[in-house]
Symmetry: C2
Subunit: 239 residues, 2 copies
Amino acid sequence: MNAKVRLFVDQPLGAAQPVALTREQAHYLFGVMRLTVGARVALFNGHDGEWQADVAEAGKRGGVLVCREPSQPQSTPPDLWLLFAPIKKARTDFIVEKAVEMGVRRILPVQTAHTNSERIRQDRLQAHAVEAAEQCGGVFVPEVTELAKLDRVLTKWDTQRRIAFCDEALVGETGRLPHAPGAWAILIGPEGGFSDKERRRLRGMACASAISLGPRILRADTAAVAALTLWQSTLGDWA
Amino acid sequence: MNAKVRLFVDQPLGAAQPVALTREQAHYLFGVMRLTVGARVALFNGHDGEWQADVAEAGKRGGVLVCREPSQPQSTPPDLWLLFAPIKKARTDFIVEKAVEMGVRRILPVQTAHTNSERIRQDRLQAHAVEAAEQCGGVFVPEVTELAKLDRVLTKWDTQRRIAFCDEALVGETGRLPHAPGAWAILIGPEGGFSDKERRRLRGMACASAISLGPRILRADTAAVAALTLWQSTLGDWA
């Protein structure tokens, strides 16, 4: 039987491979989940697929698991990035969780003219992405980058990567996702919308397309899931 | 200038129409939002569009607003229902909020074989739908029905209304939304998936189609937004 507990580990996985646990992992498995020697745990590290492992040693400050058999091949989402302007903590966490479930390669928090948040805890958001992958059965964890100013991100943008940006000002207008394969990024504006200057700049970039998400105003977290759905179902791996 | 505060009222709206406030509404406008006589409030009631109104009387236990001018015509979302199995409180609230933003006519919580929740507070969820419409600038509030057993809902189903159901067991398979106009419902399974019996029953209904939401497992709340996006962008009012 496959394990119910899933754990991301930053170590190589393979047949008979022992995996040493950190103090936090040992606390979670043996203190919180109450696992004992012999119990099964599913492990993934983002590149070796998922492995079923058994608890070989269980201690308060550490422990060892041993990989037994592969249970899911490695898979990597399409080359899609999500750029978004961080909002309130709960909704920012939510956007990270949803991006992991929907399948993106990289999550980039960006500071726009109308972004309220001045800073984010990158390490906390990265841990949240790991947790989301653990919970949704995924084997890939997107990198969450440090908060960067949108202006700067666009200045050094590799124009081989297309951008689909969702603009509140587009509500009710049409704006379809171009059927162009290759690398993409989705950019979700902040709750107050992009500034006129940001909008002009984006509209001036040949690699950027404004896309419409219907006649109703969506919150940023809803817009993220909706835009990722449109992309995945037309250009991504849902087809 | 248009009002920043939006309020749903269960009363007729029209030119020069006075609107008496309930005690709770008066508390919100004058106690929480600190509005005074002459302040502007946006009102909607789900069928007369949005109106800009002025505070004419402000008291601790009540007050009167007077409608000045229409600011948004009435609009009603396409004939789409959302059926879902209630989960934890926060995620159930979230599904209701997202259904309002995405545009559905009716929200139906259903009890499936694998639903954990035995009961819901229908009045609380309906109030949550009102609040979501107030916050997203909508003028329509979908009805939230009482929790009903999925079996019974399907037994008395009007087969003129098609069903798109999202099945965890379909992860990785194809299953596209049929391009059939008319009345629709989207049914999101519970976190544990449908039971075999439910799945057989749904697959046996000519009006029901299983749709796939890609190769990764989505939480119920993510699946709801994703399925609503697919429907709205192909059969709904996003086209």
